[in-house]
């Protein structure tokens, strides 16, 4: 129905995914380490112990290296909405642009201003003002997360807006509905707490390496105490907020939840797949089993999705083809109404162009009947509404398994720290050394779940990605894709080398 160059769409998606995934290597560490720095420095200011100052300055050095490359990879994301997703920018800029501007005004300036004091102000401002500045960097980084996650949540669950047929775009009607959308709240709490968790793992990883090597033992032990407490609290909170995020997904994005679980046929009292291997040949609507192997926990998916263990959870087939028994409207029916809406909108625009007011009024009346399904009118087949199920399923399960492992790890570190034996537990320390890398995997898979699970939509149910792109020759996007791939890879290698060198040098005098 819509003549779109799919290779352009896919290259545009690939470029956004590439830049976002690189950016998200660094951002969660900034989010969490900024708070850990503030805690370390608070202890220094409270105790006056110079060793805490040396410890703070050591972690601050690593923070700065990470922060710089986080900033570098971040700028392209904001402007990429315009360069590669210009139809999206025009259609929803009224709503989506506002959080980005607010992020700039209130969060980035806070970070940028106090960052300079935090690094270069040790001998230029008072001890108290320096500590205040370090806390402001932490607050600024979390404030930044609020606004970008509000923007992202709106893409998952568009609220507080209406479609204006005159301009053919979505316009904001309720700022507070956008800000306090339940998806925004769960996204913010889940993403920031996962950042706190990752930063705690980062500290545990490097400290464990020092303990294994017998270097900077006192600093490592002190760091582990703070990071393990912070990490344990964060990891438990990540679990709660993750559960809340899944519940919100079930209510607002049931297709995504079905993909999490590889659930094709909806069930009452649906079970949660603890582990499984998916059948790669499985297609929506066919009779093949979705799994080659699965371990299911009965009733738990219904409990997670609806807070009732016997409730009905729609599967992919129900959502695509409909299930009248359970009152689920399928994509098939939504597409019919969506196509009418697309045609009526075109009639409206044409009538306006011809200054035919009666024709415009009639077309608008017809359009209003089906306008909520407008986005479905751009799909070519009902199956197009299904995200890549295997990718989402495996990503979700890797994230959840790792999410269950981290609190256990922090508990073990705290247990042996309290026993005074953390430096001697040779079986635990190598696991601690690897934990940051496992944390990175959990971070990346989490965003794969959120973003790949939303496909094919840029704005859930309203705007497919293929309608959102800039009209560009694909060669342009291919060129910039490889330009960013090469540059970011180069900078990442440089960042890792610098980090390793700084870790090898270690803190001074402790």
């Amino acid at each position: 129905m819509v003549d779109v160059d799919l290779s352009l769409v896919n290259w545009s998606r690939a470029q956004f995914a590439l830049t976002a995934m690189y950016h998200w290597i660094f951002v969660p560490l900034t989010l969490g380490l900024s708070f850990l720095l503030a805690m370390f420095e608070s202890i220094y200011v409270r105790t006056g112990d110079e060793k805490w100052k040396a410890l703070t300055k050591f972690w601050m050095t690593l923070f700065a290296i990470n922060f710089a490359i986080g900033v570098a990879t971040g700028i392209i994301l904001e402007f990429q909405f315009g360069t590669n997703w210009s139809n999206y920018s025009w259609m929803v800029g009224d709503i989506f642009g506002a959080p980005l501007a607010i992020e700039g005004i209130f969060a980035f300036f806070l970070e940028a201003t106090f960052f300079a004091v935090m690094f270069f102000g040790w001998n230029r401002v008072s001890k108290g003002f320096h500590l205040f500045s370090t806390w402001m960097v932490a607050v600024g980084s979390s404030l930044s997360a609020v606004w970008i996650l509000v923007a992202n949540a709106w893409m998952q669950h568009p609220v507080g807006m209406a479609f204006n047929p005159e301009t053919a775009r979505f316009e904001m009607e309720n700022f507070w509905a956008v800000l306090f959308s339940p998806i925004a709240m769960s996204k913010f709490t889940h993403a920031t707490s996962s950042g706190f968790l990752l930063a705690s793992l980062f500290v545990v990883t490097i400290s464990s390496w020092y303990l294994l090597k017998g270097r900077h033992v006192e600093m490592a032990k002190r760091s582990i105490v703070v990071a393990s407490v912070f990490g344990l609290l964060a990891s438990v909170y990540v679990g709660f907020t993750g559960d809340e995020a899944a519940f919100e997904n079930a209510q607002k994005q049931p297709m995504k939840l079905a993909a999490f679980e590889g659930l094709y046929k909806g069930e009452q009292g649906a079970g949660l797949v603890a582990a499984g291997i998916m059948n790669g040949d499985k297609k929506p609507g066919d009779s093949q089993a979705p799994f080659l192997f699965e371990v299911k926990l009965p009733g738990l998916l219904s409990l997670l999705a609806n807070r009732e263990s016997g409730s009905f959870v729609p599967g992919i087939d129900d959502l695509v083809y409909g299930n009248s028994e359970q009152n689920v409207m399928g994509v098939v029916d939504k597409m019919k109404m969506g196509r009418l809406a697309v045609a009526d909108l075109a009639d409206f625009k044409q009538a306006r162009l011809e200054k035919n007011e009666n024709g415009a009024s009639d077309a608008l009346t017809r359009f209003n009947i089906n306008k909520e399904f407008l986005g479905y009118g751009y799909l070519n087949t009902p199956e197009e509404a299904v995200p890549p199920v295997s990718t989402v399923f495996y990503s979700f399960h890797i994230m959840v398994i790792l999410g269950g492992f981290f609190p256990v790890l922090f508990l073990a570190y705290l247990f042996y720290t309290l026993k005074g034996r953390i430096g001697e537990v040779r079986w635990l320390l190598p696991i601690g050394v690897s934990s940051y890398f496992l944390g990175l995997v959990a971070q990346q898979t989490g965003w794969v779940v959120a973003e790949v699970g939303r496909q094919p939509w840029a704005i859930q149910g309203l705007l497919p990605v293929k309608v959102a792109t800039t009209n560009l020759a694909v060669g342009n996007v291919q060129a910039t894709f490889f330009m960013f791939l090469g540059l970011f890879t180069l900078l990442l290698i440089a960042e890792i080398k610098i980090m390793l060198k700084q870790i090898s040098i270690g803190p001074e005098g402790i």
Partner: protein, 377 residues
């Protein structure tokens, strides 16, 4: 009170706010300009370290202002954001590329194991301060020379030039504006360094920076004069009450005459820049930045106001005049502009703490002994 403002007033208010952020960015390009002076003014490691550390404490403010400029345009004028960024793809991508490499360069340059070596990171800073600023100037120049785009009934952009925005850099006007901004950034960079560094027992270093301020000002003059003359004489883009865009002789001269306040801003801005340079070059002043910086802001405001007010499409299309963007047809809805205006009430507070912290940090000038440790850039 804000909720009672009519739509047209809000649209104009947001053009003023975006213009202010854009103009502040032009002032803050002293970081970019300062980067490009490194080879000229610093003759040993201590001098290099002083230049890098002085600028390195401000680069994020400049970077953040650029990000805010983008965010404010996205929120207030999304049709411009979509049309210009999506259409003039390559000019924006190259600008962004130069800012990406800048962002890591201060931090990575002196760190052991940095893979590329200090010289490469210094080259990144040079590229940012020359190519990056030049292309920004070329992009702003298209506000007066026009761009090659057509918008369809759904406001989707088609760019009609194969260079996708880079063609802007081949217009003499745009190129001149870009080169003026490059040299002006270098003038501002030199003045900032004079204001920020403790030159005790480094007279030669200080003299080289003073000379750089003067020489770069002289270099900027031909481009400035060409831009001003061309602006006043050239045919411009006008829009009538029915929204029809047409070419108007001496449009920008007419705009300045119709808006004496804007003409005043332009003249006052130029005078302040000149006074700042003269005070720096001939009076031994280290406070020239506080004349030339605000002067640059006023010149920037005058340019943006001339481009957008008095029935002028601020982003004109030469491919299809009727696709041109005005502040009235490119803006967000009244609701969004109202909500964002409430948000903008926080801007003075943000500016106040930025200034307060800046003053706290700069109350003592940067001395050589402070850049001799491992934490320094």
């Amino acid at each position: 009170m804000i909720s009672n403002l009519d739509y047209g007033t809000l649209q104009q208010l947001w053009w003023i706010i975006c213009s202010l952020v854009g103009s502040l960015f032009l002032f803050l390009t002293f970081v970019q300009g300062g980067n490009t002076l490194l080879w000229q003014v610093a003759k040993n490691d201590v001098e290099s370290a002083l230049v890098m550390n002085s600028l390195g404490r401000k680069w994020e403010i400049t970077f953040t202002t650029l990000v805010l400029f983008g965010g404010a345009l996205f929120a207030a004028f999304p049709k411009f954001y979509a049309t210009s960024f999506g259409g003039a793809y390559w000019v924006w991508m190259l600008i962004l590329f130069t800012f990406i490499v800048q962002a890591v360069s201060f931090e990575f340059r002196k760190k052991p194991g940095n893979l590329l070596g200090a010289r490469v990171y210094e080259s990144f800073l040079l590229i940012n301060g020359t190519v990056g600023v030049l292309l920004i100037g070329a992009a702003v120049g298209t506000f007066f020379t026009g761009s090659n785009f057509i918008l369809n009934a759904y406001n989707q952009v088609s760019w009609t030039h194969p260079l996708r925005g880079l063609e802007a850099a081949f217009s003499l006007f745009n190129l001149s504006l870009g080169l003026f901004l490059v040299f002006n950034a270098r003038v501002l960079g030199a003045m900032y360094l004079l204001n920020n560094i403790d030159f005790s027992a480094m007279d030669g270093f200080e003299a080289r920076i003073r000379k750089a301020a003067w020489v770069n000002f002289l270099c900027s003059l031909p481009f400035l004069l060409y831009v001003l003359a061309s602006l006043l004489l050239r045919q411009g883009f006008g829009v009538d009450e029915a929204g029809v865009v047409s070419m108007v002789a001496n449009k920008y001269l007419l705009n300045l005459l119709a808006m004496p306040l804007v003409l005043g801003l332009l003249l006052l801005g130029l005078v302040l820049v000149i006074l700042g340079v003269l005070a720096t070059a001939f009076k031994g002043s280290s406070r020239g930045i506080w004349l030339a910086g605000p002067g640059t802001v006023l010149v920037g405001l005058a340019l943006f106001f001339t481009a957008g007010f008095n029935s002028t499409p601020f982003y004109p299309s030469v491919a299809d005049l009727q696709s041109s963007l005005t502040i009235f047809n490119a803006s967000s809805s009244r609701y969004t502009l109202t909500a964002m205006t409430y948000v903008a009430l926080g801007i003075p507070f943000v500016l106040a703490y930025v200034v307060y912290v800046w003053r706290q940090m700069d109350s003592q000038k940067l001395a050589a002994h402070e850049v001799a440790n491992d934490e320094a850039y």
